[in-house]
């Protein structure tokens, strides 16, 4: 069994306009030391999937079903439907999370030291001085100069990149085995993004933790992930080792995404003057079609045996086309 196994996870939000199916049957697994990227556009369900795993969705607002089993020592813990008290034991200790916006995810009234120390104290019955030493050690590890002094500083005294380092230090203070990084570099400039990605790589090597990297940036994924899940309208539509995915995308959506980004490493003349955009827009999560949600934007559906009507009426299964490479598409052998 893998370190974390998610099986047929559903998250639905009842709204006055109808039932929003934000996550619609997601299944995946991740091993220790592995980086799994979850890629998709806004509304594809990548963040909600992970909020559900962390028990961070309001039980009144969201209907969650399915299973997510994580290894904790020798025991297996089911995360879905875990009592709040037990979830608090795991969250921040076994599983930690860093968020997109380092500006709003730190408390502006407390020094960064107090915030990191609190995160340590919650899970460890030790003297505050021990926690403080640990906080300084972590700040030092994430590359904040003069950590023993800076621990007294407040969030507004740091730049965006430095605040993200503080967030990472806080997440790692209890040596979690799984780190969920939700768009960790989206709010940062590219040169700072490079620093943070490098830091995460080094820390992962050192601490052997598993990372779930949620992002919309296919460039970041290429450099950071071992395996990639592509999500569209609440479903995983393709899952493959990172090199296979980029070399040979099997799902028309992934294919379209890769083709639509301008490439800096190719000269303008090579790729042609126009970008090959994916026409149309992502579907509404309230009125999802019976079949493949990508059909209205798909340029390959006419090549499916049975035609586009088959794609519209029946949802293709996530099928293993090449060993380790899964895609959700009716296309014969998924040859794009």
């Amino acid at each position: 069994m893998s370190f974390l196994e998610v099986n047929d996870l559903h998250v639905e939000f009842p709204t006055s306009d109808g039932l929003v199916k934000a996550v619609d049957g997601v299944t995946f697994a991740i091993e220790r030391g592995e980086t799994l990227a979850i890629v998709g556009e806004s509304g594809s369900g990548k963040t909600v999937t992970n909020l559900a795993l962390m028990g961070l969705l309001s039980k009144r607002a969201a209907r969650i079903s399915g299973s997510a089993v994580i290894k904790r020592g020798d025991e297996d813990v089911e995360l879905i439907d875990l009592a709040d008290e037990e979830m608090r034991q795991i969250r921040g200790k076994n599983v930690a999370m860093i968020f997109q916006d380092p500006m709003s995810s730190l408390h502006p009234y407390y020094s960064i030291g107090d915030q990191i120390i609190e995160a340590h104290q919650v899970h460890n019955d030790v003297d505050e001085r021990v926690s403080k030493a640990r906080a300084i050690e972590l700040l030092d590890m994430v590359g904040i100069p003069d950590a023993s002094e800076r621990i007294k500083a407040f969030p507004h005294q740091f730049s965006g990149g430095m605040r993200q380092r503080v967030m990472i230090a806080m997440a790692l203070v209890n040596s979690p085995e799984l780190l969920i990084a939700d768009e960790p570099t989206t709010a940062l400039d590219v040169t700072v993004q490079a620093q943070i990605l490098k830091l995460l790589r080094e820390l992962q090597e050192e601490l052997k933790m598993a990372i779930i990297l949620i992002t919309h940036d296919l460039g970041v994924v290429a450099g950071a992930a071992d395996r990639v899940n592509v999500m569209y309208a609440g479903k995983i539509v393709e899952s493959a080792p990172v090199r296979d995915l980029y070399a040979n995308p099997l799902m028309p959506y992934t294919h379209g995404l890769l083709a639509s980004i301008p490439r800096m490493d190719r000269r303008a003349g090579e790729s042609g003057k126009r970008l090959s955009a994916i026409a149309g827009q992502p579907p509404s999560l309230i009125a999802l079609p019976a079949g493949c949600a990508f059909v209205p934007r798909c340029t390959f559906s006419n090549r499916v045996s049975g035609g586009a009507s088959r794609c519209e009426s029946s949802m293709p299964a996530l099928t293993e086309h090449v060993p380790g490479h899964f895609a959700r598409c009716h296309l014969e052998g998924a040859s794009l």
Partner: protein, 336 residues
Amino acid sequence: MSEEPILEVSNLQKFFPITSNSIFARVKGENKAVNGISFTLRRGETLGLVGESGCGKSTAGRTILKLYEPTSGAIRFNGEEITNYSTRKMKPLRTKMQIIFQDPYSSLNPRHSVGEIIGAAFTIHGLASIGGDGATGSSGRSATKRLVQDLMERVGLNPEHYNRYPHEFSGGQRQRIGIARALALKPEFIVCDEPVSALDVSIQAQVVNLLDDLKDDFGLSYLFIAHDLSVVQHISDRVAVMYLGKIVELAPTEEIYQRPHHPYTKALLSAIPIPDPVLESSREQIVLSGDLPSPANPPTGCVFNTRCWKAQPRCFSEEPVLQVVDKSEVACHYPE
């Protein structure tokens, strides 16, 4: 593209006062957002203006349009010096110079229908009956409606949505509304301030293609401000790289991406993740240390000297000016 310049900017500065936080606000210092930039934009050209947050690129764009009063320097539009024009004198020129904003959510009035938003330009400039027979009243209104619907169609919106409100549209569609509004008065020059940064990847390509097409159809010149260097490469003829209020390198697009001469340009390009795992793993990355210095107190000498890996004593005492190196203009004492 002709050699004739549509816009000439020379030694433009825009400083914002930093005031103390009391009722008797005293000016404590100056935030040197744009600190002496010079360039020309040729008719029909797209000039990319790139840099990280806080480098002054957006301020530069807005100062050029006189949305901010320049501190010093000169702006010439179509040979006419507009630096010290009053709001009243600027008004007729506003039909020629327009702007597209980054955030399609906050740049459209939520209480105005799309028809009103796009049509406002005609009303403000007393052109409500343009294309008609000079009639006012209801025939003027229907003429405006026809014009607005033509524009909506041109930017890929359904003209029947004339009476809808911004919240009924997706991010990509809203950006099209912003583009239609900018095009309404048939401008010659548009400042595109991060026009695709807030959009999903698959929608970005659609909007980039639209901007490309409109440029040819309407004979536009763009100042394209962005932090995403891959998009800038795709759309620009020349690129200017800004750092801390200064242009550090200005070159034809091919040249700047193939042979960057300024160390900052080099680091910036190397920090951009390329969506190709094979290339990404073999690529040499220059990870800059530290953060951007404060624009209120820029370093003396070269502005990049605090993060440059090849800084020499001269870089701390003498400020480099833009000089020609091969086909580029570079502000560096020791160009690559």
